[in-house]
Symmetry: D2
């Protein structure tokens, strides 16, 4: 997570201030529940809320931690400085540090997920708008980077929409994975704390109680969370790669929006580089790099070891902040993408009808030519186009073997673009609903 690739709202989730705020809420709600249960005096529970609007002094907490080498103790000491030692004496009673740390981490992850979900909805809106706009903008479909058959730019946007819609679902599932809290004590037995405290705190924080925890919330949840982010990031790369291809000099079917003051290169003023989508390609690699350590974090020793902690201090902010930035950047790219329909047509016509060869092949077969013969007939005419720049339709018309099977009109009909786009509406209905 570096400022260059960060947005403030997501960064704020991971600030020390925000973290201590959540710590405080957990402790204060726990005190309330313990007071309800008669375990601690009501007055003490109420007194803790004096810190409700306090600014926690991060530097002071760090100072204490430098001595105690324990962050939660440092925070509790500081809280005691704010609300008074007497009020604070029942705070954290029967709890273990991880009750606070893990529940907080999951609060942060669910809030991060909420932002990512909103990002994704924004991206979906942009993709849908561009899909409808270019529903009928014909361009050549390519497999292996080679011209295949016509498709439309709207279908390209629509498939990215469908992919991102799946990712929206995955993000929601990922959010649910980590939307649990645990206040279950040193080894998860609730020996020193009533399960009802956990229930109260979780309810207040919008979490479900973890059905069974040890000292920590099980890390398969977090592994699933970061794995989902890795999938989303890979889809970002997928869209970015398409745009990079479209913008390359020889293709030039679309360009990232190029603002007025922007300079493409210090050396070549004519250049307009797809730097945003190239950047997204790199950001995708970064988000993905969180997946393996998150998987390695699952196998903690016994009721917990702390190896996961340093990993999560990094990948928690890094992966969510980077993905948030990437989704927002991609939304901007899609929203403002400059599309060149005329270049699409020009590219498609580069090989003078050759892309229609599949249709001709089929027509020959249906006219009774054997599959092998039809293939050979198409191929010999195609090669003339490929090697000598001939026009495919003209060659077919001039080929007596072809003409033995197909009339002039039948051949001409094979070069109608509408043939290829006739199911676009059907597909759009499948993707966007009717």
């Amino acid at each position: 997570m570096i400022p260059r690739y960060s947005r403030p709202e997501m960064v704020a989730i991971w600030s020390p201030e925000q973290k201590f705020r959540i710590w405080f809420e957990i402790e204060a709600h726990a005190c309330d529940a313990m007071a309800d249960l008669g375990v601690i005096p009501r007055a003490n529970a109420e007194a803790v809320w004096k810190a409700k609007d306090a600014e926690f002094d991060v530097a002071r907490i760090d100072e204490i931690e430098a001595v105690t080498k324990h962050d939660v103790i440092a925070f509790l000491t500081h809280l005691s400085e704010i609300v008074g030692a007497d009020a604070a004496r029942f705070v954290h009673q029967g709890m273990t540090s991880s009750d606070v740390l893990d529940t907080t981490f999951n609060v942060q992850l669910t809030r991060a997920a909420d932002i990512l979900i909103a990002d994704m909805e924004g991206l979906l809106a942009a993709l849908k708008r561009r899909a409808l706009e270019h529903k009928d903008t014909v361009r050549i479909g390519r497999s292996h980077g080679i011209h295949a058959e016509p498709t439309t730019m709207g279908l390209t946007f629509a498939r990215f929409y469908a992919e991102m819609d799946r990712n929206l679902r995955r993000l929601k599932t990922a959010r649910a994975e980590v939307a649990t809290g645990a206040i279950s004590g040193a080894v998860g037995t609730f020996a020193n704390i009533d399960p009802r405290v956990e229930a109260h705190v979780c309810e207040k924080l919008g979490l479900l109680p973890e059905p069974i925890s040890t000292q920590v919330i099980p890390r398969d949840r977090h592994a699933a969370f970061f794995a989902a982010l890795g999938v989303v990031a890979s889809s970002v790369e997928n869209v970015a790669t398409e745009i990079r291809h479209m913008q390359r000099t020889e293709v030039l079917e679309a360009e990232e929006f190029f603002s007025a003051g922007q300079k493409g290169s210090s050396a070549m003023p004519h250049k307009r580089n797809p730097v945003l989508t190239e950047n997204l390609t790199g950001l995708a690699r970064l988000v993905r790099s969180a997946v393996v350590p998150a998987l390695e974090n699952v196998a903690l020793w016994h009721e917990r070891d702390i190896s996961h902690s340093s990993v999560e201090r990094m990948i928690g902010p890094d992966a969510t902040v980077t993905l948030d930035f990437a989704l927002a950047r991609l939304t901007g790219v899609i929203d403002k993408l400059v599309v060149y329909p005329e270049n699409m047509l020009a590219n498609m016509n580069k090989f003078r009808g050759l892309v229609m060869s599949q249709r001709v092949l089929l027509a020959l077969t249906q006219a009774g030519v054997s599959r092998e013969d039809a293939y050979r007939l198409v191929q010999r005419n195609a090669m003339k186009v490929w090697e000598q720049g001939a026009d495919f339709q003209e060659e077919l018309l001039a080929d007596t073997d072809v003409r033995a099977a197909l009339s002039e009109a039948e051949i001409a009909e094979k070069f109608d673009l509408g043939y290829h786009t006739k199911h676009v509406d059907t597909i759009f209905a499948r993707v966007f609903g009717d």
Copy 2:
């Protein structure tokens, strides 16, 4: 995928015979649908089914592919040899190879998922049985590998159950991710094939039609699938790691079952090594290694490139076969795990009551001692136990500052094990239902 770590049912899914069988079914069902639509003659569609019970000759297909360098063409040629060139002439009409390949791959993946789901259900049954058996078997809970507070072996099994139950859900979601088929032609526009053919084929194969495809089914689905397998594998490692720890010489709270003829070591006949769970740790690494290439497969160029294919030829079988083997092996380990309750007790008592320090700390606080003083009091007695092998309870009774706050009976009560297990039933109800 190597025989040593393979089970035949899962291996069979990935055999060439099985693959060609599914290819055939797709082609034959597609012919039926095309006949229904009047696109091809009914007789030809019916004639194709002559190959229904045929054994496809893998060697012959390979031979043809060596010339054509195209596997689907090779298969179609062979099919034509079986049902006759005339019957076969409408087979594959309007389709592209990937329609067959991708739909087949998803059939294989869903069948593989079905086996994994059944595996997981078997593992869950074993975990539940052992959890109930050892619900009240007390052992020390450990954080950082250090004794913390008592827990029970049943809770350990129960948390693995809960984790694997989440994994069961993840496997079902993963299955749904890849349970789609596509018969949409060269670039996904259905230019040469009616969408109703896709609908028919998918229904027959138990798949949903992919709402929008290109030449291929989008690979974010497969990335999500393999990522889920990676999470499951990490949970396997988690359980395996626990058992490896329990079996180590100094702990010896459990052992993998050791059969009669088995030799632990060529050199040290007394050794009983946790080789199965060590092996599972390695197998988890292998399954996880499929995740990154699956993520890298998402960003295909334009309407497809074939870079994903070689990856999937390997990780498809490798990851599913290895995980199937691992789940089955783990089920056996859990089922037959030899548990030593007496060693659990002996280990727990190693530090003569020290693990109860948390309770004493709390009792002191509740008796009015400040948190800092209580901590100090507990710590000074704890250090005598730690350094001099004293008995914690006796030291506390002899400490006048402690006794100023707590009576003998109050101290004694802190050493009652039932205190730690009182919520086990509650937790079991949360995990297994009532």
Copy 3:
């Protein structure tokens, strides 16, 4: 490792037969050394060599292992069946299974490395030949997929040569990493075996003795080995990506060789797809997928745990066989790559001189125009070319501000291609030597 992506010589290294052959050699050489030291009778050592030309019966060994669940014991039992129980009684004396297994694995890895090194030398020869052939074949250099300045196809081949030459060095270093053996007993103390046995065996097998081992050879060596393979694979992807770009329809500056019988697509007979380099892209992902598990294998417990073993049974063959295949395939692609110099020229001229803008910018600066003004002057003329298809040189000649700084001849000189290729010889000398 699957037959489709395998070559027999590398596969043979990993066959059971070959593995047992090496096991035998280790045991037999160890017997020789022990006889030299007077530890065992000379006659017994000599008798073991009776199995020198024997075929080890893999099925029989598997059968024994099914009972003993220990592969080395199974082999020794079978060896005893061949040479006689009496001759065999001193075989393996003082050794531990890992002495055999680990030393064997390293023999296999070094032999695999030898093949990879030879592969790389073949690839280098092909790259050099093509570099020299196309030293002066001008084509446009591209950054961000956008035309930048002229370069030559020879420079492209030359940089791949330089990269693969670094990979040759890395492979040699990787080979040295794993070229050690260990015969040091159950925990590496040589308690039951003299270090001179290790020295003798290692010398016979072309290895160095591992300076300090535990039960196993330390796995940081293997991690470094597989990491090196991952780097090589990434370079394979790099070259493959370049060719895929060159072959795409709109660029078409080169094509993979397309043999006579080959069919590019079942549907579109005109298509020539860069399937080999796409395949190489996927194979690179597969080889790379061995890196993370190899890194995870390093941290074994105490003097060893066996978690690394299953990983290595897979990634050992998989990574080396796949990389061998990939290097051979890439060599073939380079060797037979069809290069289209005329298309290179046509592409370069697509923007009518625009790629020379950098030179003009410099000339203006050197003629005394401020950097900012020069940039503006170039940019305004460049935009006319970009947007209206004008000729860059003509626009500059018609721009009075430009002409105030540069004469007609000076402008014309900026469009000389030789300017860009003048240092090609220098660079070739740096890469290939003089």
Copy 4:
């Protein structure tokens, strides 16, 4: 990279100030070289050095970049503000941004490598000191976590020394991988800049000229660099894992140093947790997570795309800062590790001689008992120790079949610890030299 896991010297390498300082030096040295070649006026070159001691205003540069969206142009504009537009007008002439950026990145990486190399030398010194200190401290060697045969603590330290010594070599190789610079222009042809400028700049910065570059220095170099860091990190995890095992309650053969004010747990005051080595385990995962994105960075498009840039902005600082911190932390852990030789002896004697079974097995074989019989004899006595807590030596003496082969003295001799440590000096000489 977060402050908690960072050390200032390494962080400084990656500061914007330091980056701009290196950018300046490259530009200024390039001006010198161009003046030497007569390409630009000597006075201008000299004038640039006016900024030699200037503080570059990072905020100002960011401000300019916000408009130009190009960092190098922003810097050059700011430089021009410092040294004057006239002096600055030849700065960067003929160069491209990447000439500056890539050369700078490699300067940073080599400086980072220098720190890592120094870290490693510090760690080696600590390991050697502890190895010599505990050369003869006997403890049980363990395979699979199970007692095997005696070894010494010195051998454990010595093998970590040997492993880290290999890592020192790997770090030096990694440093050499990235110790190159390139000033070769927009596509690496030196079209607008003389190769002698590159030679001069590289010499001044302690780099070698990259033999052939495109717009960028080839990324296989950086992949190899980060892969090496991943191997080193895995070795850190290896050492950390050993210590975590040694500190666990039941083993307690060593402990991390526990300072006076430190609190182990908020709840259990007696606990001393191996938190530093657990933390190192997590940090290892983080450093390793840079390897895959670095490998994915290799395959840039044509003469470059900018996807690698965002990745390197993160993993450059993250991986080096984290590994530096980890190596320093590990050095402290090793340096102050509290070793408990008496616990080592107590653990070893837990199974009353059982660990000597291998020696007895050998002795029986050498006394003429067949391998199978000897194994059976040892195993039956071993099982009595294992299951009934008997003393192995006594059982053997009482076994008439054993006594038929071995005398009392012969049996007793098998329980001599010196037998196991007799080659320690030999091994130390192999590791540390004589």
